[in-house]
């Protein structure tokens, strides 16, 4: 433990070569959570970034070791809280794979639609938050106007707006709301009309482009070596969409493009996410009229027990590849569970790509990496 004088001394201390060492976070407006970056500065230029994690570490992996296969899904909603549906899907898929549970078609299609809605909501929030990091406040409100419609749909069907906990092993917890289809269609219609509004406000803006183009360039080799996934890697030209590589739920029957940009800078990451929203809309449009009738949950035993062995399930969240790795000893609880979270790998690349740039660039880079801190800490 530090004494009071040590803290004051630490605060005014300089780096080894007389650089300014600034603690960004754990309470900082641009880290969007309790991320602590120790930034070594030479004037305005960044010399080194050292992430310190753990401020929101809840040891979800340890908690899951004492929860049953029905219970542990609800904890995962709290990891990447912006893709909680997708996290739940990953866990449900893993249990279904481990126990060979047959999932009804209706559940598969609804899950896919909900996953894509979650992805759009997450990207919407990201656009707003990233524009705010760059000093533009207004896009936030425009993006939230559409995001609000999605959270309303979620509230109707799942009963919650953020941590939905709607997906269970075998299918869905209960059937969709009767208004689900009409509301989703209304959302798709409004989204297509209004998406141009904040795109006009952000994409074409000269200041925005000069702030993001050529900033935080991540090469394809580095993206692979650092284990980056999702829009971050796709902006560097790496094909890594799990929905294409290892299709789950209803992704094998819908048509969509894997969005690839090659520049690898912050602007490319922005463009990937914007285009991805349009692809998600495309997927939703294909499925929304095709929701089959029938059961919403498959037949499962009351007590779920995975066979002895190891299971791995990966899904594509809004931030990248989420992997769930379970080592089972044949009991009702997992022996060891590991979440390969996309944010953790994406964060590890921050020092590499932001070194040598200005403080303002760090905000652009960090913003476009789309870090969700509970996802990194778990």
């Amino acid at each position: 433990m530090y004494t009071e004088t040590e803290i004051i001394k630490d605060n005014t201390d300089l780096g080894p070569d007389g650089e300014l060492v600034v603690n960004m976070g754990p309470q900082h407006p641009a880290t969007h959570g309790v991320l602590h970056l120790v930034v070594t500065l030479n004037g305005e230029t960044i010399k080194k970034i050292e992430p310190h994690l753990g401020y929101i570490h809840r040891s979800i992996e340890k908690m899951c070791e004492s929860l049953t296969y029905r219970q542990f899904i609800y904890v995962t909603s709290r990891m990447d809280y912006l893709s909680s549906h997708i996290n739940n899907t990953a866990c449900a898929l893993l249990v279904e794979k481990g126990m060979q549970i047959e999932v009804p078609e209706r559940a598969k299609v609804v899950r896919t639609i909900l996953n894509e809605l979650t992805r759009i909501a997450s990207h919407e929030l990201w656009i707003g938050a990233m524009a705010m990091d760059l000093g533009a406040f207004t896009p936030f409100f425009y993006a939230f106007r559409e995001r609000e419609m999605i959270t309303d749909i979620m509230e109707d069907t799942c009963g919650a707006r953020l941590t939905m906990n709607y997906i269970v092993p075998g299918g869905l917890m209960y059937d969709i709301h009767p208004d689900f289809q009409t509301k989703v269609k209304a959302f798709v219609k409004q989204f297509k009309e209004k998406v141009t509004e904040y795109e006009d406000l952000v994409t074409g803006n000269v200041i925005f482009q000069s702030r993001t183009k050529g900033v935080g360039v991540l090469t394809a080799e580095d993206a692979i070596s650092y284990g980056c996934t999702g829009p971050v890697a796709r902006a560097s030209g790496v094909r890594c969409d799990i929905r294409k590589i290892d299709p789950y739920d209803a992704y094998d029957r819908v048509e969509f493009d894997e969005v690839i940009e090659t520049a690898g800078d912050s602007f490319a990451r922005y463009m990937v996410r914007v285009k991805e929203m349009n692809q998600s809309i495309r997927i939703i449009e294909q499925l929304i009229d095709q929701i089959p009738e029938g059961d919403f949950v498959g037949k499962t035993k009351n007590v779920l027990k995975l066979a002895k062995g190891e299971f791995y399930q990966r899904v594509e969240t809004a931030r990248g590849e989420l992997g769930v790795y379970i080592v089972s000893e044949g009991a009702t609880t997992p022996h060891r569970i590991k979440f390969r979270s996309p944010g953790f790998s994406n964060l590890s690349v921050l020092d590499h790509i932001a070194k040598g740039s200005k403080i303002g660039d760090l905000m652009a880079t960090m913003g476009t990496l789309d870090l969700v801190i509970p996802d990194i800490d778990r």
């Binding site: 994690l53 753990g54 284990g227 094909r239 890594c240 590589i245 390969r340 590890s348």
Partner: protein, 151 residues
Amino acid sequence: MTNEEIKTYITAHASEATFDETGEWLTILIESNHLKSLAAVLRGQPMQLDFLFCLTCVDFKTHLTMVYHLTSSSNRNINIVLKANVNSADPIIETVSDLWRTAEFLEREVFEMFGVDFLHHPDLRRLILEEDFKGFPLRKDFDDPINMIKL
């Protein structure tokens, strides 16, 4: 490459490797002191497993097992699980962070959660826990009478 081809290729380079095909993906079990050389073989041509998508450790009470999930960015259908057992009392293993940069952070996490010591790691410090934290939380013998809820 089919599993058989991979197996013959790996056996040619690391004769002591054993295989397990019961899981979804091909699992290679190797002794911890040979892990680094096998990892380098897998990373290099012609396998080109350049994407380490999961690195973790499992506590089996008798021993710890390091688990590396590897795939190739050019062919994502090849997935290989590499495993190496280390003893619980004094776990030491060679780092792979020079082959896959992502391992640098993941190994730091394993270092503080399981106490595995990674040789030649460039920056082996605590990432998540406080400096004065005692014990390795993800090990099975870790006990925290205050904060842990037992069901």
